[in-house]
Symmetry: C2
Subunit: 217 residues, 2 copies
Amino acid sequence: MQGTSDTVEFTAFHNAPAFAHGLVRDIRVRWACEEIELPYKTRLLDTFAERPPGYLREQPFGQIPSFRDGPLDLFETGAILLHIGEKDERLLPREDAARARAVSWLFAALNSVEPALMNLVTIDIFASGQQWAQLGRPHAEEFARRRLRGVSQWLGQQEWLEGRFTLADLMMISVLRNVRHTTLVSEFGNLAEYQARGEERPAFARALAAQSADFAR
Amino acid sequence: MQGTSDTVEFTAFHNAPAFAHGLVRDIRVRWACEEIELPYKTRLLDTFAERPPGYLREQPFGQIPSFRDGPLDLFETGAILLHIGEKDERLLPREDAARARAVSWLFAALNSVEPALMNLVTIDIFASGQQWAQLGRPHAEEFARRRLRGVSQWLGQQEWLEGRFTLADLMMISVLRNVRHTTLVSEFGNLAEYQARGEERPAFARALAAQSADFAR
């Protein structure tokens, strides 16, 4: 699955509420592109407006990013990262066993960790002030903590999840950032350091700056 | 990522609460194996007991399945399905554009649909009777409905998500089954038919029978 185009294109927003700056999911795709110096273009949508006609055929849930690489149409950041990873072994190892581990952790970030963390985002931000959210917060926090503990125990004193930086770390760190409004990650010293290690990468800084620039237009 | 072993092996349970029969996640891997006649062995754990020593190095969250194909170790059903898909185009198309679509929907099932549905499982089963669960149910149900509507609108009158059956359908249908205790899927006639179409596949029936047989030991 190697796209043939010189420039990939994906959708992003030209505006977003402050809490979402640096979190909106195109950041993951920008970061991946920056890691391998893959040129990209963004097509900007309005967060608060109805999606353009036909957009649900690009992204069935009306979210961003949808992604195009020449004749290939993708959506879901996991699928997009995997596609970009196929272009460059710096993101996705070519050796079978290492590849299997990176792909496993990519899915773990999205199916075992992110849902638990997003429940806290819903409770604290989207539904804050609602009684069920207040009452349900301890349960959600404990569930999130349990999943973070799993990652923390695995990581131990390793720098990255599996030996060296891959798209799995890019995704896991992007997912951990979802709860930056809490102190949850910092309960696990090695996870906080791991997240910081990712955020210190020049490619991440460029991705963040590029997303901010699109918001500033 | 083509494993070389003749028989893959993964973990499953030899017991489970009744509500989880047919849903425990090894069913997804069994189903994929059955679709391509790939022989497999299960290594059975006790749902209710502590995990065996070292199991967190196989599956960092203590869940099943962890999966082995010769020298390759994987976890997360998404990663495992993708790995099995690499073995046989009946599960994962070889043509780039079709492959991109199947992988996109595989991630969509796991990151956009399943979290919304699992919140209802938590509320109705794991936390039933708790006040926050009762109060929060309408919000969770509406979120789940919105995601199902996205899939339903995409599907329209198509038989499968992208032309013909792939691992994306296998995963999406497995995910829809999580809320079989509700009438949510049946609100969308085409989704209910889609789910039934998957469940009528002989490979699914064999997978279900095999999981039941492991419970009956």
